[in-house]
């Protein structure tokens, strides 16, 4: 066994065969974390004893003949998803030392299926960022090249999976926060449709956009985790009761009869040539697998960034209001009044980017500005959604880049928020429209950095993207095949 490259599915098969135990898997990963995390800062907190005791419990269950789909499978979890008893600080000073009182629904479901929770992964504070440089616990680095960012906000999860410090990880995706780091680090990043996976227990950033998803080494692992987490939840009113797709439709070998749309707005002149080449090569593979590719247009794409950076901060400004030093988390010393307590606690507790977005959000919701910003943004959001509805009348899935370029260098965009924001330009649309989308590594560029393609599917048709991704991955020689491809 080599935990540096084994997929979750392979690890589970090995557990079933008795090739290794969960304890061995976890020990192996812990050793790699011990050795590598100092350089990458992918994990914020790992409780080795707790992880090992969860693994031993899974091994005992297995020894008793019990079976569960994920029994003994170790997972890393982004620091904004509640795992009972573990820290859940969203990489923020304001939640320093905060322990989750209960499991998120997604975690509870994974736990019921036997998963072991390894540790907390680094992220941009409150998931606000695209490089994991805005973490209060210091930036994470890209394992393919430590001078580059791992992407964000789920950068710790992507780095851990790519560096062999986790077999799979959970992330959250509000505007691309799973898919973009997956693309930068070379793993499969999957964001299910809005409403598919309960958000209960995911510390909210932008409630109408957030969705829990996975970062894995292969497409089948994404499918596996999706089916374990998905489904309606009485504690999240925005989850849907629509039936899940058929699992076999998510495990396609060819793409006969499938129409893949290629939107012209996603290939602007500013798109890096290596990314363009990698995505077009993926389109070629689609055709080779029997798919028809079709040029399509999503005409309101140009408004996506403006809409996203109004809606997300607006919701965030309310969601983050609860961090006030009164009930939990950090409380500033020396306050003389409630207002003073709020000001001190929040000034000390939040980082610059979080403050920027709270201010932005409060501004666009202010009386006198609401109509011009928030309301207009909601109208434009409807147009973007309608674009996709129309496009999906002509195609089954959409193929596009994930990011305008491969991973950028540390510090390159931290002083220019707008440049940082623009890295979400191809991903935020799926969140705005509530669609499912997947980032699939396609090739290595000349600098040895991963390049990825994005598959976007209609809402609640996760089979459309998982099926297509599975066929592409297979065509390229399996989960690690992309590493041998050049663009």
């Amino acid at each position: 066994m080599d935990t540096a490259s084994v997929t979750l599915g392979e690890a589970l098969a090995g557990l079933d065969r008795g090739d290794w135990s969960s304890e061995e898997l976890v020990s192996d990963l812990l050793a790699r974390i011990e050795a590598g995390n100092g350089a990458l800062n992918a994990y914020l907190d790992v409780d080795a004893d707790d992880a090992l005791s969860q693994a031993r419990a899974a091994d005992r269950q297995r020894a008793r003949g019990e079976r569960a789909p994920l029994l003994g499978a170790p997972l890393a979890v982004k620091d904004n998803i509640n795992v009972a008893g573990q820290s859940c600080a969203c990489a923020s000073r304001i939640l320093e030392g905060y322990k989750a009182p209960c499991d998120a629904t997604a975690i509870a479901r994974l736990r019921r299926e036997g998963a072991v929770f390894l540790g907390r992964t680094n992220m941009d504070e409150f998931a606000m960022g695209s490089s994991t440089e805005y973490s209060a616990r210091g930036p994470a680095r890209n394992p393919r090249n430590p001078d580059c960012v791992p992407g964000g906000s789920s950068g710790g999860s992507a780095a851990a999976v790519a560096a062999g410090m986790a077999l799979a990880a959970l992330g959250s995706d509000t505007g691309g926060s799973i898919r973009q780091p997956a693309a930068f680090c070379g793993c499969v990043g999957f964001k299910p449709s809005y409403g598919r996976v309960s958000r209960y227990g995911l510390t909210a950033f932008a409630s109408s956009l957030d969705q829990i998803g996975s970062l894995t080494r292969g497409v089948d692992d994404a499918t596996r985790l999706f089916f374990s987490m998905a489904g309606p939840d009485a504690r999240d009113a925005t989850t849907v009761t629509l039936p899940l797709p058929a699992p076999e439709a998510c495990r396609r070998e060819d793409l006969k009869g499938v129409v893949i749309g290629v939107p012209k707005e996603y290939f602007p002149s500013a798109l890096a040539p290596d990314v363009r080449a990698a995505v077009l090569a993926a389109a070629e593979t689609c055709r080779a697998l029997g798919a028809e590719t079709r040029d399509i247009s999503l005409p309101h794409t140009e408004y996506a960034m403006a809409v996203y950076y109004i809606v997300a901060p607006a919701e965030a400004s309310a969601n983050l209001a609860r961090f006030d030093g009164v009930r939990y988390g950090r409380r500033a010393a020396g306050a003389t009044s409630p207002m003073d307590l709020y000001c001190r606690t929040r000034s000390e507790g939040f980082g610059r980017e979080v403050k920027r977005r709270i201010l932005l959000g409060a501004y666009v919701l202010s009386s006198g500005y609401y109509d011009a910003y928030y309301l207009s943004a909601q109208k434009a959001r409807t147009l973007i959604r309608d674009d996709f509805t129309a496009a999906f009348r002509d195609c089954d899935a959409i193929l596009a880049p994930v990011t305008p370029s491969a991973a950028f260098r540390m510090g390159e965009k931290t002083e220019d928020p707008v440049q940082m924001y623009l890295t979400d330009v191809f991903t935020a649309t799926a969140n705005l429209a509530g669609l499912c989308a997947l980032s699939l590594p396609c090739a290595m560029n000349a600098d040895g950095l991963p390049l990825a393609a994005q598959l976007i599917g209609p809402a609640f048709r996760e089979d459309a993207v998982l099926g297509a991704a599975a066929a592409l991955e297979r065509a390229w020689g399996g989960p690690t095949g992309w590493m041998g491809r050049r663009a």
Binding site: G201, D236, A237, E315, A318, V326, P338
Partner: protein, 474 residues
């Protein structure tokens, strides 16, 4: 110059649901601070609201009772402001798409019926309760998340007493329908008042102030009386009333400025993304329509009509639903509804007031009260016996017929028995006999009392008096 006031009320009514608005915590009153709380009502990171459908239905039911339009689709919104008793620092409320629009509450005002128009009724969650102790403060979140219905009237009330009449009528209605306990001491009904004054004859409303912290009906009356006088004095002195929020101080009996219009909060409302819009299907509304009970006014009219009660009796009996229900059931099985009414208004209400119990907490059944009254009407027991019997029934329970038999309480009318007791009374009380004979007729009552005592209360009082008069003549 004469002035007139215009008052509009925003009334918060706590709904009678088992659990809170957005979580499974109990909505019961009281208990140790911060024991009825969970991650949702404490606003923990990641917690999300799950809507209490019963709260929606109780609000819609109220809307139907006041003839409001119940919106087929209404929307929750976040109302943002920072305060230590606010767990999330936003309150889940409704803004531009409330559950109920319009409607009116009928009140008696200046001898006539008046319809007080409503602007809207919406649903929201309550906040916690702050307490201040010397050098520190605490917040109890047991109340946080309890469903509140906010009823907003048009600015059509013209006097503090009219505002009071509105609140009384509203409280009666919500209690009737089981929408709320309507208990002011427990904060089930709280109120803010918007108040302005203008010269009589003017058509535009004057500058208004909003008065907060009105937690009792008496407080509403006193605060409005104070505020109207204050505004009149400002205008009479040639000044202008400042648009502001003022706080009522029950201790000093005054209002004081809390914040000016410029300092008013910007609540930054936006639709709550964690909740779906609330749909109300026609079938649901029809089902709610069937839940509307007979309301106080209809009941008063029916009591007069069906039981021949005077208006005063109907008014007293219909004021409280439990009392009215009890009367209704008793009167239905009694041959003497007026006697039932008398019993209810005197003995029953007095006993309830004296013991602080509710009818549901007493063992007396309506049928038993009807039987008690029948025993009196048939002359089987006298009134004093009936009253003491009722006290026993109220305290310990029991069937009046059985009790009369067990305790031997049946009224005695036989001339022999009464004659014997009367002779004893005359023999043993020569002074009273002398008094009576010297013209002090009141002495007879004392002697009747002696007969009653010897009969252990069973003697027919009229017959005892007759027997005594007969004896004393000779």
């Amino acid at each position: 110059m004469t002035y007139e006031a215009r008052i509009g009320l925003e009334v918060h009514v706590q709904l009678k649901t088992r659990s809170k608005m957005f979580c499974a915590c109990s909505a019961e009153f009281g208990d140790e601070p911060n024991t009825r709380v969970c991650p949702v009502c404490l606003g923990y990171p990641g917690a999300m609201p799950a809507m209490n459908r019963e709260a929606v239905e109780l609000t819609a039911l109220t809307g139907l009772m006041v003839g409001a339009q119940v919106a087929p689709l209404s929307v929750f919104a976040r109302k943002s402001y920072f305060y230590p008793d606010m767990p999330k620092n936003y309150q889940i409320s409704q803004y531009d798409r409330p559950l109920c629009i319009g409607g009116a509450v009928a009140i008696e005002w200046e001898g006539r019926e008046k319809l007080v128009g409503l602007t809207r009724i919406h649903l929201e969650e309550d906040v916690g309760k702050s307490s201040h102790f010397g050098t520190s403060s605490g917040v109890d979140f047991n109340r946080a998340g309890i469903p509140l219905m906010e009823i907003v009237t048009e600015p059509v009330l013209t006097a503090p007493e009219e505002a009071d009449a509105f609140l009384q009528a509203l409280r009666q209605m919500v209690r009737y329908a089981g929408v709320s306990d309507g208990n002011m001491e427990r904060g089930n009904i709280r109120c803010d008042a918007n108040c302005s004054v203008r010269l009589r004859g003017e058509t535009a409303l004057g500058a208004k102030t909003e008065i907060k912290n009105l937690n009792t009906f008496k407080g509403v009356l006193a605060a409005l009386r104070y505020e109207i006088r204050r505004q009149q004095d400002v205008l009479a002195a040639g000044g202008r009333v400042a648009m502001e929020t003022r706080r009522w101080d029950g201790e000093t009996g005054t209002t004081a400025s809390m914040r000016s219009k410029e300092e008013a909060h910007d609540y930054r409302y936006f639709p709550e993304p964690d909740l779906m819009p609330v749909a109300m299907a026609p079938e649901q509304l029809a089902a709610l329509q069937a839940r509307i009970p007979e309301l106080p006014r209809a009941r008063r009219e029916r009591f007069c009509r069906d039981y021949g009660l005077p208006a005063y009796d109907s008014e007293v009996l219909a004021a409280d639903k439990a009392v009215a229900d009890f009367f209704d059931e008793t009167a239905r099985v009694s041959d003497n509804p007026k006697a039932v009414s008398n019993w209810m208004m005197t003995e029953v209400l007095a006993k309830l007031a004296e013991t602080g119990r509710t009818l549901a907490e007493t063992p007396v059944a309506p049928r038993q009260l009807a039987e008690l009254i029948a025993l009196v009407d048939r002359g089987q027991i006298n009134m004093p016996t009936a009253k003491s019997l009722f006290a026993t029934m109220f305290d310990k329970g029991g069937d009046p017929v059985a009790l009369v038999e067990q305790e031997g309480l049946a009224q005695v009318s036989s001339a022999d028995d009464i004659g014997a007791w009367a002779r004893q009374a005359v023999e043993e009380n020569p002074k009273s006999v002398a008094d009576y004979r010297s013209g002090k007729k009141a002495a007879l009552q004392f002697l009747v009392g002696q007969v009653m005592r010897r009969s252990r209360g069973r003697a027919h009082p009229q017959k005892a008096a007759e027997a005594l008069e007969e004896l004393l003549k000779g």
